[in-house]
Each structure stands twice: as C-alpha cells, then as structure tokens.
Amino acid sequence: MNKINRIFKSGINALIRNALLSVATITVITVTVFFISFFYLSNIITREIIDILEDQIDVSIFFKSGVSETDILTLRQELLSQAEVKNAEYISAEENLSRFRDRHLENPVISQSLDELEGNPLGGILNITAHNPEFYSSIVDYINNSPQQSLIFKLNYFESRPLIDKAEGLFSMVKKSALILGAVFVLLSILISYNAVRLAIYSSKKEIEIMRLVGANNWFIRGPFLVQGLIYGILGAILAFLLFIILTASASLRLEGFLPDPGILTYLKNNLWTLISVQFFSGIALAVISSYISIRKYLRV
C-alpha cells in the first residue's frame, strides 16, 4: 500500500511539475479521443440513417379490383413466412379508395368521376418491406410464381428497381467508406498520441537511467509514468467528452433537416453511455499503453 501511495504521489508530482508538457500531451490525447468518438458515433448514425432509408424502400402489390380480402391476406401470410420479408402492410380496397380521395380532394373532376362510378374501382394493396434491399428481387420472383399472381394488377418493383439498385450500391459504399476513413483517421491520431507520450517520456530519459543506477526496480520507475498516463487518459477523455457535447449541440441545429428524424442529439442521448465508455477506455488505454511501451527501452540500463 505504501509503495502504491508513493508511486501515485510521485506520478502526480511529476505531472504538475512538468505542467507545460502535461498540457501538450493531454491536448493531443483529447483530440485523439475526440476523433475516435466522432468516428464511433458517426458510424452508428450512418448505420441508423441507412436503416431508416432502407425501411422507406418497399415493393407494393396492387391487386385487381374485386379481389377478396381472404386471397390478399393468404398471400400476405405466405410472404411473412419468408425469411427475407420484414413486413407486409395490408391496405384494404376501401382504405385505398379513401386515401385516394383524400389525396385528390382539391381535384373536383376526380372526385366527381369516382362518385359517378358504381362500386370501388380500386383493389387492395400489400406494401412489402425486406430486411435488406438485396432481397427484393427474390421476393418479387416468389410473388410472380405464386398462385395469386393472376390477381395482381401491378407490381411497382420494376418501376422502382433502378432506384432500389442505386440505393443499395450507395448504402454499401457509404458504409465501407465511413469504416475505412474512420479507421485511417483513428490510426493516424493514435500514432500522433503515442508520439506525444513518447516525447514526454523521452524528456525523462536521463532521469529513468539515474533511477535504474541508484537501484530502483522497473515497476518503481514505470509506476509513476503509468499514473501520469492514467491521468492524461482520464483528463483527455473528460475534455473530449465536453468538446464533443458542445460541438454536437451546435451542429445539431445546422444539420436539422439534412438528417432524418430523430436528429443527432437523440442519437447522442441513446448512445451516451457507450460513448462515455469508448472515450474513457480509448483515452486511458492509449495513454497507459503508450507510456508502457515508450518507457521500456530506457529501462535496459
């Protein structure tokens, strides 16, 4: 216990006495942790936005007028039993007509024409959502080969296929590039951080050698540097967190409208604890591991 107290005291003293170097190192670690958390959160947001956009893509089956609800619901049941299908929303012929009327309330010609017709000219609709845009073509194949195929008036897949294909390619590209760019930036900032810690320890090279020569064992020398690393990491994480909150709050106003609901602050709120854990873990691990590696070569005396 006495030994641990001495190591902590020595580490804290060194940190305070080398205030300028400590501030510089903490700043570099803050920036690194900020980058790590930025790419972590932007990765989550990108995935969630892509999920939302993917949910907005669907295939609609328009049934012929007069097709019974039982037939439509049978096909719905069969589709839902397919692994690729996420959801199949049923809109009855009556609901379809009512929505159609609502959409064209301001067009008296359409309203009058509908009034003059006997019965409902529109059929029911099934809106199919897949777990992944790639699955739509196999779902469409399944529908085309089903016994209810003759009941279908129109399948909008072929009209929206170019859009679906484009979206699919775009999503996969966005996911990949976010990951690669993130990894490169994070790696670069880790290297910069490691070098900052290395420089701080290099400045104590002579002292480390003297400590060895007066009989200190490696842990007694290494300990205070690891304590400094720990404090660098904790302070770096706290500062990165504050910086992140301030910048996200100000960016959320500017990004409103660009990003789909629920907005960047909600993403942040939903992932707050994970973000804090990532920041503290990365800050502390970065500083402590860098210190551990950097000091090693000076302990060979």
């Binding site: 006495n2 030994k3 002292e207 003297i210 400590m211 020569l213 007066v214 009989g215 490696n218 007694f220």
Partner: protein, 226 residues
C-alpha cells in the same frame, strides 16, 4: 570483498579499454583509481555497478560473480552501492529531500525511517536548510553534496565516486573529499576515481594507477604518479 579476475573490456571496433585487470579491494578500504582521461577508470566502475558487462573475465562481490546476475537482480546489487557521478546525476524534477528519499523508498524503507534519517544525512553534508530546493537552485558543490547524501541513504557497503570533484571549485572539492574520508571512517569502503593530483597526494591512501586499460601500479599509501 571485491575481486576483478582477468577482466577485459573491448568495445566494438576492437577498441580495448580494459586489459587483463586483476584487482582486489577489501572491506573498509579507501582506494583511489588514478589515470589520465581514457585510462579506463570509468569503465571499471561501470562494470562494478553492472552498467556494462566485461568482454571477458569475472567480477566477484564476496563469492558472487556479478557478471552472471540477471537484469531483474541488478536493483539489489545497486542498492548495496552508493554512487556519486562526475555529472552529479540528481533527479532534476525532484527536490533535494525527494532525491534522497527516492533511494530509500526503492529500498523499501518505511516513511518514519525516511523522515528521521534525511535530516541526519543533510546535516552530514551541511545542507540542512536545502531540503525543499530543486537541483537547479543549488551550486555545483551543493549538488555534489546532495549526491553524496543520496549515496549514503542506501547505507551502502561500498561508495563509488567517479570524478566527483571534476566540475567543482577548490573549496567544494575539499568539502567533498573530507566527506568521503569521513564516510570511510564510519566503515564504508570508498572507491574514488580521479585525476586530481593534489587530492591523491594529500589523502595518503591506497592508489591504483591505470594506463591504457592496464593496472601499472598498486600502492598502499601511494602518491600520484603516471
């Protein structure tokens, strides 16, 4: 107590620094190592504190061959040695008090012991009022006296001083030498490496003379002659 047996040190490029050194030092002796710069004095000391290994030969501390020590056992060896360097080598980020307490802490001494002994050590070297000062606030002579206090804090079996007066003025030089003699009187073995003729001639102790890596003379109560 210490025995160098057929010790050679050859640096890369076939640079022979120590050539067949055979030397015995008894407990409680005061031995001066003399010789011109490059004679091999510092290398001999580096071998003794295991800062370096000999190219050939053995070095015994009692019955233990210290050239065979594992790296992790070096702190134990060095805690038995008090070391005073020419360039002083105080820890610049620590106060005088902390410089001394550091070596006591690494040896696992209790806080109470440290609190009691440091004032005594500072008194021996005449720096009672300098405990809170940092090395850069001291003169060269004061720094070397702190280094002596630090070397004594180990309660070492042997104290090695490598050119301890090399950077000091005459008054500080004699202060340091008087302290070394006093420490030796208490029973600690002292090895002093120097090329200061006046010191050697005044103290009248054993003198081992090195020249081009060889021991060319070893005299009890010797004088400085090359």
């Amino acid at each position: 107590m210490i025995k160098f047996k057929n010790v050679y040190k050859i640096y890369p490029g076939d640079f022979l620094v120590l050539d067949d050194i055979n030397l015995e030092i008894e407990k409680g002796e005061f031995v001066s190592l003399v010789g011109q710069s490059g004679a091999g004095k510092t290398t001999l000391i580096k071998l003794l504190i295991r800062e370096e290994l000999p190219s050939k030969g053995k070095i015994f501390w009692g019955s233990e061959d210290i050239t065979k020590l594992h790296h992790r056992d070096l702190p134990n060896l060095r805690r038995r040695i008090g070391m005073v360097f020419q360039d002083i080598n105080l820890l610049s980020q620590k106060t005088v008090w902390e410089n001394i307490s550091f070596v006591m802490e690494v040896a696992g001494r209790e806080n109470e012991e440290i609190e009691n002994e440091i004032p005594e050590l500072l008194k021996i070297v005449g720096l009672e009022k300098c405990g809170d000062k940092f090395p850069h606030q001291l003169s060269g002579g004061e720094k070397q006296r702190v280094a002596l206090a630090r070397a004594l804090a180990h309660q070492p079996d042997i104290l090695i001083a490598d050119e301890p007066t090399g950077n000091l003025d005459i008054l500080s030089t004699w202060d340091v030498i008087q302290l070394l003699l006093k420490i030796n009187e208490f029973g600690t073995t002292v090895i002093l490496a120097t090329h200061n003729k006046d010191i050697i001639n005044q103290i009248n102790k054993r003198v081992v003379t090195l020249d081009q890596g060889r021991i060319i003379r070893d005299k009890e109560k010797g004088k400085y002659s090359l």
